[in-house]
Amino acid sequence: MQFERRRDEPEPPLDLSDTILMQRLQSKQPCRLLLVDDDDLVRTRLATVLRAAQFEVEVAASGGEALRVMNLRPCQVLLTDWQMPDMDGPALCRIVRADQRESYVYVLMLTVRDNKKDLLEGLAAGADEYVVKGGSMKELLARLEVARRITHIEHSLRVANRENLRLSVTDSLTGTNNLRYLMKHLPRELMRSRRYGHPLAVLSCDIDSFKKINDRFGHDAGNQLLQGFVKRTELCLRNSSDWLARLGGDEFMVVLPETSSVGANRVAHKLRRAYVESPVMTDSGSISFTVSVGVTAVEAAHEIEDVSKIEQLLRAADRGLYASKGLGGNRVSAATVARLSAGKGVINE
């Protein structure tokens, strides 16, 4: 890949009209390029050529200025000279590589230095490509097209990864969080609660006689009911802190950070009433439904010792839920974690 400098072979002049025409025929991915060179003539010439090649070009006259520009607006490609007054190309390259930037910066070093030692030093500093000044401008553009391609692929992968991550913690039917999300974030909520001495409450919710609803109205209507349940629940929660997760089937958990057992009971009753008062319209008609709720909360000075005891919290909420179910459903029952270990502590309301 090393660019060979051939001073004896005259390079045919770069025909920009050809380049522009070619690029109009091919749609190119947008690519932001930062050109760093301390010589204004070099900056002007290269910027003209690169803009004609459909790069979005920013220019900087020094390494320090380049870093400031990059911090203001990230760029995909960094095209830098080697020898500059305040900071040379390899030093700039090392700083860019050391920074934890969200997206990868493809670095191309453009320099008069044409010996192997410098090439190796440039690459060791973190450059992806090394091109000697005075070579073919078409070759430089071709190498920058490689940079455009690679950074576009990297961007696509990053977007896909982000989406995969989102999907991995999202329930596909209702769009709310799933069990994986609960198991990842509930321990964090508990840790935060312990660290700041704030209470934390959990509601375990289950739609009463959901199987019968499915049997009577069909699974599609059952699915629509689950979606309606989620919408109604989310309307009753604080957007900024409370959250909901579907564990599977018709089982849901509501997590209420900074909420005491009194507050959690209030929310649970509010939810229960909202479900009763608002039937869900499905393709099979309007479906009235009720929900059983189990409530538990850890107070600021609660004795849960570590995050592994998260199971105690969930079990306490479930115990409250089973108590509500046992009493015929459409109820709220509270259970405390401490009393749970003693086999007591369910309070029906």
Binding site: R7, P10, E11, P13, L14, D15, L16, S17, D38, D39, D40, L41, V42, R43, T44, R45, L46, A47, T48, V49, A52, V57, E58, V59, A60, A61, E65, D81, Q83, T111, V112, K133, G134, G135, M137
Partner: protein
């Protein structure tokens, strides 16, 4: 910093050979003007080195940096001959600096090479005219011969 302001307004002119100029000739003309300005500076540095009265290292570094920068700019502006000869000067100065540090028997030779490179480059600057894309033919031939001779010495 943005270079938009450095662009020539309007669409690029069409050159005699049918290609778009896109401001290159203008940049070359500016560069030639800069070279003329550099001429005296280079000569002064050469004179300081010839006198041998002061610490040569910073003078050699200054000369090398100037040659390096001129070579890079000329290369991007597709002035291959100027770029080549400036690069030869840079290498010669670097060789002289190495010789200074090593105090080798080749020190005299490297001095001669550096002086020849400097003279050759000055002559090329003197031969430059206007905003021509190419150097005058005599300068090109001389450049080619000189750089070969300097590099082989």
């Amino acid at each position: 910093m943005n270079s938009h302001g450095q662009h020539r307004a309007g669409s690029p002119a069409i050159r005699d050979d049918g290609l778009r100029d896109d401001g290159l000739e203008e940049l070359r003309a500016t560069f030639f003007g800069r070279l003329k300005g550099e001429r005296q500076l280079l000569l002064n540095l050469g004179a300081v080195l010839a006198q041998g009265k002061m610490d040569r290292a910073p003078v050699l570094a200054e000369l090398r940096n100037r040659a390096h920068r001129l070579s890079g700019t000329a290369a991007v502006l597709d002035l291959r001959e100027v770029a080549a000869l400036a690069h030869v000067l840079e290498l010669a100065v670097e060789g002289r600096a190495v010789a200074d540090r090593a105090i080798t028997p080749r020190a005299e030779n490297s001095d001669r090479v550096m002086c020849a490179a400097l003279q050759a480059f000055i002559k090329v600057i003197d031969g430059l005219s206007g905003s021509s894309r190419k150097l005058p033919i005599q300068a090109r031939i001389a450049t080619s011969r000189r750089s070969r001779r300097i590099l082989s010495s």
